[in-house]
Assembly symmetry: none
Homo-oligomer: 216 residues x 4
């Protein structure tokens, strides 16, 4: 993303070469999310990225390394962007929570990377190292984001003085759950849930649940 302007000046095959890892992780993400780690074949990943099986090994030393790259690189840019938005926000805490919720949805949930949580929860036990990384680098930062919002609201008197720590994962849960659902049971047409009304209901419940007086 940064310095995308000078890419134009590079010869085409060079640009291609530099883009390869990202093309591969993108293809791998889709397949890992769809089939899970074990059921994903590297040959399919390579084919989806338009290269041969051997080429994949020029960029990633093993299936596990590819998996880690997918998970490591997936959410961090979106998280950073979310943190920036929050830092720059000025307005009511209710609106801030809406900003955070919609932001998580637009930057993550509605993107391909929105499949990563499903992947993580599915594979955490097989890759404890990944689980730890993910917890520290992603979950804790998401938690910090929510915490800052709730603390801000409680401090300003806008929110009730709730027990903050346990509340954080609870507030996070419906957003995460929606992401997971979208990549699993949503394949059943009957189980599909529209995002708009889901998020509106979410804010309705959570803000009424948190606000001291009227929800603004």
């Amino acid at each position: 993303m940064p310095a995308s302007t000078n890419a134009v000046s590079l010869p085409a095959h060079r640009r291609r070469k530099e883009a390869r890892p990202a093309e591969l992780t993108a293809a791998a993400l889709d397949l890992f999310v769809e089939k899970g780690y074990a059921a994903t074949r590297l040959e399919d990943v390579a084919a989806a990225a338009g290269v041969s099986k051997g080429t994949l090994y020029l960029y990633f030393e093993s299936k596990e390394a590819l998996f880690k790259a997918v998970v490591r690189e997936g959410l961090l840019p979106a998280l950073a962007e979310g943190e920036k938005r929050v830092a720059e926000f000025s307005g009511s805490s209710a609106d801030l929570l809406r900003e955070v919720g919609w932001g998580m949805w637009q930057l993550i949930g509605a993107q391909r990377i929105g499949g990563i949580p499903k992947l993580i929860f599915a594979e955490a036990r097989n890759f404890p190292e990944i689980a730890r990384f993910y917890h520290e680098e992603v979950i804790l930062r998401g938690i910090a984001l929510i915490r800052s919002v709730i603390e801000r609201g409680v401090a300003s008197g806008e929110f009730r003085p709730v027990a903050i720590e346990p509340m954080i994962p609870i507030v996070l849960a419906p957003l995460l759950m929606r992401m997971i659902w979208r990549h699993s049971l949503d394949i059943c047409e009957a189980a599909r849930i529209p995002d708009e009304s889901y998020l509106n209901g979410y804010f309705d419940l959570v803000l009424h649940g948190l606000c001291a007086g009227e929800v603004q």
Copy 2:
């Protein structure tokens, strides 16, 4: 054969034969939840159940059939018990919601079958048939349970007149998410969340979010 009504009179190997499928699905559940479908080796399932690889095939015709049996038989009894409790309940809607929430936790979340949701969400795309079954037989019944609680509260004036349908999965989400979490990121000690405070926070948020006046 003789006196088949009296289990005691059955020959030992016959009693064994009747218990085997349950022993096998129990072992399989643990391993499927821990490792996922693809990464679970049938030999390990058999060993965990104390039998040899071949024995498994006397009771289940394939790995997939075993998986389906695990999922099919897992939650249905607990669901039925939950529905019974709700039907027999008399008290405030807030207490009913607490009853349902704790019930789901005690009957499902805190049991081994509490790993099934993780399994389902992880494998739904690989087993669309299972996904459909699970949605129809489990999810819809859970939804109906929550719906009846919210409708009851709204009808009695205890709850605000919220949009009920979108609210259901939102109310369900923190419970499901907790079950999933328990079988994935909970392996990170730092990510572990105590059930008691989680559920208390959950009821605090949801009941404040739903109730029209004071939460009872």
Copy 3:
């Protein structure tokens, strides 16, 4: 077959017990002929004979032993009967050859044991011991039968003075081939050949081929 009269005096379950091996070899013959040795499952053999898998091992110590029994016991009675008929025969050598040919067809080819040649030719290399047994006990006796017929005809001047030894397997071939065909390509409707016209054509060719003057 011998002493079949006193069977009546035995208690039923005793008769059953004595009949078991024959019932098992009969069932095994059908399946071996249909599927070949390796593809035949002992469970299917037992089921076809109406007993359990374990029972089979009370009478035959292994799959190979069962196979040998099938082959050993199959053709010998029919051969003996054929030899008896030839010994008692008086008439022209042409008629004797017709008698032998029809006899082989009626006593063997048209019976279930008519599948044994296909079985032998298919499995001879896997069971050299069986092949040797079969050659010595069955083939050589069949050859001797044909030889005696040809020698008789040549001696009487009815047949041309052909080279007898090479002629024997040639004369035998169409009969064997018909038996094999019947248990293989005859499953293609289009490949089915009527026995009557086949045998008539056979005698027409062979007798014209052997006879010195007019065929009688």
Copy 4:
């Protein structure tokens, strides 16, 4: 890729890739003929072709596909050659029959593909589709060949006016039987028959059986 018409310019591994299927079917033919379909292990086939187990699956998608390739590709070239020889033949019908008989023996019976008939007759019931293919593409063409010879001889008055259709499989039988025998009971030294005298006896019998006057 470059100059694909010139095999010499192809990279070695490419030339190898093109030769592999034939090397594999050749190895498979030997083993299928020797042991039968079910008793042949793909690992042995691969080893006989000098490759590993996995390589086989680069060229044939299953054991059954390999089997079909062996049967499909085996006899067709030899048949075509045989048909060509017959079409170009000019001479007496007796000599034509000798030409066909010897041709079948030299082009098929004496070659490795001479084991295919044994294989087909042994496995026809397990592979009805193969049986149909074989009947239509091979047997019927062989029958047509013999029919044309007999019809030619009857038309010219050289052969008696026999019933042609039933005669065809009878005339074919000793040749087929010899091929089958060669790959089965010939392992018994005592059962071995010299080809030369067998074929001479065959022509002696069949031509005396068919010819109207003296055999030429």
